[in-house]
Amino acid sequence: MESMSVESMSVESMSVESMSMELEQSGILQETDEFAIETIHLSKFFGKEKQIRAVDNLNLQVKKGEVFGFVGPNGAGKTTTMKMLIGLLEPSEGSGKVAGFDIVREVINIRETTGVLPEPAGFYDNLTARQNLRFYAKLYNIEPGVREKRIVNLLETVGLTRAIDQKTGGFSTGMRKRFGLAQALVNEPSVLFLDEPTSGIDPLGAQMMRDLIKELNRSKGVTVFLSSHSMEEVEEICDHIAIIAKGKLLAAGSVEDLRDMIREKEGVHYLLEVQDIPLSEAAEAVKNVEGVTAFDIRDRTLHVSAKMKLRTEIAKAVKKAGGTVSMFEEEEMNLQKLFLKIIEGA
């Protein structure tokens, strides 16, 4: 054992050296290095004539340390994509990398460094939670002392301490999801794949799961790639979001990027409270700003619709007319609406 670890250490330091050398030589490697997950023209076709295009020319980039949401309706291709990323399915076309490893040629390396909560997920229901985790941990050759401690910690993390010696066969849906998360964390992964981590569980349980995912990402810096049917969910916990339907990527970006998309499509809506001049005067002034499409006075508030972001321009116009802006808000935009619109169009 001892000689083994020495050997693996020297191999590690060697690879670091050779890698930094390569890094110096090519700028490309440096760039790809910041991504935990990257796909290029990734596609999967099913059927004899490849007529089912489950995933169609998918280009994704997931940065290290972020929570990435993959959202789409049933049959969108979310599970198929995840299966390709962890080497359970061979791509029909295209390629990809996870944690720097090729998704076709370095499958075992990927599985060593990632954790997966698949959907559906089943366990050995004749065994207890502890025995199940012990079995999975053995597949990574974790030293028994470390392993047993980690099992206890993991079950505590997911709130299953009291169920540690219960058979998983008796677990509720919510408990099974949380146990599935514990199982995915058994090798302390740097990338976590979660296929519909909150589907089928009650709102409180779902919130707990989301908090857990956020916490894992924050405290351990784990990159999370999660799929969901709910835009609200990914909006809450994800840094970046990709919308997929019928195998095609329809939109991708940060939450703010997606909001910009709505702004472009639907325009921007502002709410203003103005002092020193009557609202009607302020409205007259704002009307002349280029890009403003409509206004309305309701509940002592000026509602302004614009084609684009015009915050500073509107504020300037009010000031010019002698008014003081005491409140200036942009109306909350519903990403769910955008999501529905986008997938309807697909």
Binding site: F46, T80, K83, I86, G87, L88, L89, E90, I108, R111, E112, T114, G115, V116, P118, P120, A121, G122, F123, Y124, D125, N126, F135, Y136, K138, L139, Y140, N141, G180, Q183, A184, N187, F193
Partner: protein, 300 residues
């Protein structure tokens, strides 16, 4: 070696699952009770009755113990597919061939336990009941008997595992496997006789068995592993029910102390070879089938 380490992790789990399962415990109890009764009944007699009682045991083994092999294998893969635990297992760093190898190994080790526990019970019972010592030559023959039995049962274990790979659920796999068992072990003699009669145009009422009919009957019998087992342990072509058996071999099986083990080997080595090759062949089939249900087709 590192690449195969997880084979043993799987095998260990499979073995533990097997021996703690109620299914296994019940089957083991039933089987050992039968073996115990048979050996007790003849334990009081001389050594020649001891070998006589082995023949009874050989028939029980030949007819019913294949079910034990099937019980150990029939749901190995489909159970995990049904419960989606294969889905989770495959996300961990393990090769597909390691999964099937581990499961096969675990079941094979369980089978060793089954065979040796039974033989041990037979031995113990007879020694205690007869109060005599067992001669060394007899002990050698017992070991060979155990190995033959093991080979025979592993054929059905491999069939079970193969069934668990090609079917979608455990119930289907069990039904197919039981059908194969009943045909190959229990009523094969009858099937052979009927088939041979039809082909040879031999009426069942004919008292003088025509040479062609008997030859045909004997040839068809060779298709069942039960025939090769019956030959090696008792020198008869079939231990199954309702069949015609042509003349038995001059060496009357492994417990025929009038012939040496060498004579036994010269007489039956082809049967032993077939008993060895068949499980190996079936296991290779199982491997290939499982590996082909691979990542390009998404069979879990």
């Amino acid at each position: 070696m590192e690449k195969y380490r997880n084979v043993f992790v799987i095998a260990q789990k499979e073995f533990a699952d097997n021996i703690w399962s109620p299914r296994f415990v019940i089957l083991m109890l039933v089987f050992t009770t039968i073996v115990f009764s048979l050996s007790y009944g003849s334990g009081i007699g001389s050594e020649s009755t001891i070998s006589r009682s082995y023949l009874d045991i050989a028939q029980i083994v030949s007819l019913f113990l294949p079910f034990m092999g099937i019980a150990l294998g029939f749901d190995a893969i489909c159970k995990e597919r049904e419960a989606s635990s294969l889905n989770v297992l495959l996300t961990h760093p393990i090769y597909r061939d390691n999964i099937i190898a581990g499961k096969t190994l675990g079941a094979m080790i369980t089978l060793v336990l089954v065979v040796f526990v039974s033989i041990f019970i037979v031995l113990g019972t007879m020694l205690v009941a007869s109060g005599t010592e067992l001669s060394l030559p007899m002990l050698n023959r017992l070991v060979v008997f155990a190995i033959l039995t093991y080979l025979y049962l592993s054929i059905f274990l491999a069939l079970g595992i193969l069934g668990s790979i090609v079917t979608k659920n455990a119930t289907k796999s069990l039904v197919y496997n039981i059908a194969i068992w009943v045909v190959l072990c229990i009523v094969f003699g009858m099937i052979c006789t009927t088939t041979a009669s039809i082909i040879a145009g031999h009426k069942p009422t004919d008292l003088d068995d025509s040479g062609y009919f008997l030859e045909l009957n004997a040839d068809i019998q060779k298709l069942s592993p039960a025939h090769h087992y019956a030959m090696t342990v008792s020198g008869v072509p079939s231990l199954s029910w309702l069949g015609v058996s042509s003349e038995r071999s001059s060496v009357r099986g492994i417990f025929d102390t009038e012939h040496t083990l060498e004579q036994w080997w010269n007489e039956f080595w082809i049967n032993v070879l077939i008993l060895t090759i068949t499980p190996v062949f079936l296991i290779i089939m199982a491997f290939i089938t499982f590996l082909r249900q691979d990542i390009s087709k998404d069979m879990g």
